[in-house]
Amino acid sequence: MEIGAPPAPGKLEDLKRRFFATPLQALMSLISLAIMAFIAWKLLNWAVLSAVFTTSGGPEACQAAAGACWSVIAARWRIILFGLYPFEEQWRSALACVAVVVMTVLSCIPPFWTGRRIALVWGVGTTVFYVLMKGGVLGLPFVGEEAWGGLALTLFIFVTTCLIGFPLAICLALLRRSELPWISRTTGLIIDGVRSLPLISILFTFAIVLPFALPQWLQGDKLYRVILGSALFFSAYQAEIVRGGMQGVAKGQEEAAMALGMRYWQRIGRILLPQAMRNALPATINQFVISFKETSLVVIVGFFEILASGNAAYGTGEWRFAYVEVYTFIAFIYFVFVFSLSRYGAFLERRMSVSER
């Protein structure tokens, strides 16, 4: 006799099974539903239904309305995104941001994951960004770093931090794994010392204190000192991630390479590092996500990045009341960048765990 499959449960039955199986489940479902409905309604009402979208009424129209005042964004988005960058040149700042985004997207695609290609992508991307922002060549008027601001400055600090920090991290990891005890111990001391300090204190030291300890000709611009500090911090954390990845590579791999007669740099570059980076990929992306969020801290040592320009956008005069909208806008920009990066990291992790099975 053939036993047919049980009839597919109806919509209602399915709903009952999933959310109202027991009294406790039902209670939890109802509470969650109530919370969600409450927040969704409040949010919808604030952000859309009672909100003011046009600038025509000016700040006065906003203050009368009960909901969000998106007109502050319409009026001030240029300050928030571009900071003090000269008004007519702001298209360059926007284009530079696009270059960074393209570069990031390209480096997320597996065919680009060889040392040379990734270096090429980042080299070209950063050069395009720098030339666009600074100008002075190709008929673009010169704009000094002190006028950079907003999203472009945030992205610049992030990109250069990674660009300097990543090779430095690999060097530190290799030095810490060195068989010579004093080299590995000294490097370990540096890494652990940096890791035990808060990032703000390092940024502060590099921005304010370091000029005392450097001869005049070495001081350079404050922006680049801060980037160096943040790169050092990034590399101390990333070095431990790379080292963890190296520990995951089987000892036999290196021994086999040695038996083949490969030299140190060949062994590192062709055998050890590629496998180590593969092991360390999820944690590396996580570290990128964290350091993107942490670029926001440079506001403390006086840079006009997106958070500071946001503060300026609502802080002066007529828009004083509209801080929630401005912060929501900035939070949304951060969210888009950080969320997509971290989703990509989660996707990679899943993909890798599948391919390893």
Binding site: I35, W182, I200, A213, L214, K293, Y323, V324, F339
Partner: protein, 387 residues
């Protein structure tokens, strides 16, 4: 000479000397240049400045402070402020994280969705932005005369005013200590191996110690209360200002809320990971032994999850403790802000940076030591992986 260089041992020794030497030289040169530059500005190096009075004030302190107090006292104030904010923030973040993490591991799909939305939103927005937001929100509250009032709490742009017992500060501290003992002692008694009773049969002792400690706290409060004043002091409007109660300044609440919400989203993920790592078989075994669902949770699921969580949690706590340095963004006088102010006012750059490093090293190491001890105490003993 060249034959010497070809010797592996000599080469290794030379390499090490070169590496360590060049780093040492770099640091030393920096220090020498810095001292010369500072001396040119008429700043003498050394730690004598620690005993001079500062001449400026701090806006939040647990210890008594005036502008005449010496620098070392201000550093102490900074460290206590950092630890206090850290502790409050960590406790709040743990509560938030546990609730959200449990929602994410529950069998209810709606609760899961709610938890995931929370984590996704608050994890992906920088902490300093959240702190700025809460600070702006609090300082835009109505002024004291039009304060929001609820259950004796007053919400104003000058801070949050809460009812507070009229008790001397020494008695208050002792009562707090007794309260901590009331929570910690029963927990310790419930797990220590130094008592002869079986672990499940210590209810009586646990209740007795908790009650004794609570009674102690009550007696201390009763003795320490200030005379001629009501026992609990409610904040109220008097003239143009608020009098009475305890004022929590906006800087402190902004940071505490920010750390609680942002840290909570990370702790929620740690909690979820911890619970996910507990094998289903363990819980099924416990259920089949006839334990009630609540006992399965407290005796099997929670302890096992806690063991998996603790090392990662310790890392997160150290990170959150360091995150208190964001106080400088809104003007909370934590340790780092005192350091920055001292550098501005005294010019003793190198010494103060040294103090900064030593301070954070001490905080990190003691937190790590505490968690190592805790971890050792609750780690599984012996080999549980019998076939």
């Amino acid at each position: 000479m060249s034959s010497l260089l070809r010797n592996q041992k000599v080469r290794n020794a030379l390499l090490q000397v070169l590496y360590v030497g060049s780093i040492g030289a770099l640091v030393l040169t920096g220090v020498v240049i810095a001292r010369r530059n500072l001396a040119e500005q008429g700043i003498t190096s050394g730690f004598d400045f620690l005993f001079k009075s500062t001449g400026w004030d701090v806006n939040f302190t647990l210890l008594p402070a005036t502008a005449n107090d010496p620098y070392w006292w201000f550093f102490l104030i900074g460290i206590t402020n950092t630890l206090f904010l850290g502790t409050v923030g960590l406790i709040l973040a743990t509560i938030v994280g546990t609730i959200v993490g449990l929602a994410r591991t529950s069998t209810n799909e709606l609760a899961q969705l709610l938890g995931r939305t929370y984590v996704d939103i608050f994890r992906n927005i920088p902490l300093i932005l959240q702190v700025f937001f809460w600070y702006a929100l609090i300082t835009h509250l109505p002024p004291p005369r039009a304060a929001h009032e609820a259950w004796g709490f007053l919400l104003t742009s000058r801070g949050l005013y809460v009812p507070f017992p009229n008790v001397g500060s020494v008695a208050m501290a002792m009562a707090l200590l007794a309260l901590v003992a009331a929570i910690a002692l029963p927990l310790w008694l419930g797990s220590t191996s130094r008592l002869s009773q079986a672990i499940g049969q210590r209810r009586g002792i646990q209740f007795a110690t908790a009650a004794a400690a609570l009674a102690c706290a009550a007696v201390i409060l009763a003795i320490g209360r200030l005379p001629h004043a009501p026992f609990i002091d409610f904040p109220a409007l008097q003239g143009l200002n608020l009098r009475g109660g305890l004022r929590i300044p906006p800087e402190f609440s902004a940071l505490a809320i920010g750390i609680a919400i942002y840290g909570g989203s990370y702790i929620a993920e740690i909690v979820r990971g911890g619970f996910k790592s507990v094998g289903k078989g363990q819980m099924e075994a416990a259920l089949s032994l006839g334990l009630s669902p609540w006992r399965v949770f407290t005796l099997v699921r929670l302890p096992l999850a806690l063991r998996a969580m603790l090392p990662i949690l310790a890392n997160q706590y150290v990170w959150l403790m360091k995150a208190t340095t964001m106080g400088i963004a809104v003007g909370f006088t934590d340790f780092f802000m005192i350091v920055a102010l001292t550098i501005n006012h005294s010019g003793q750059t190198l010494e103060v940076i040294g103090i900064l490093m030593a301070g954070f090293l001490a905080i990190n190491l003691s937190l790590a030591a505490l968690f190592n001890r805790l971890n050792k105490a609750i780690a599984l003993k012996g080999n549980q992986l019998r076939g």
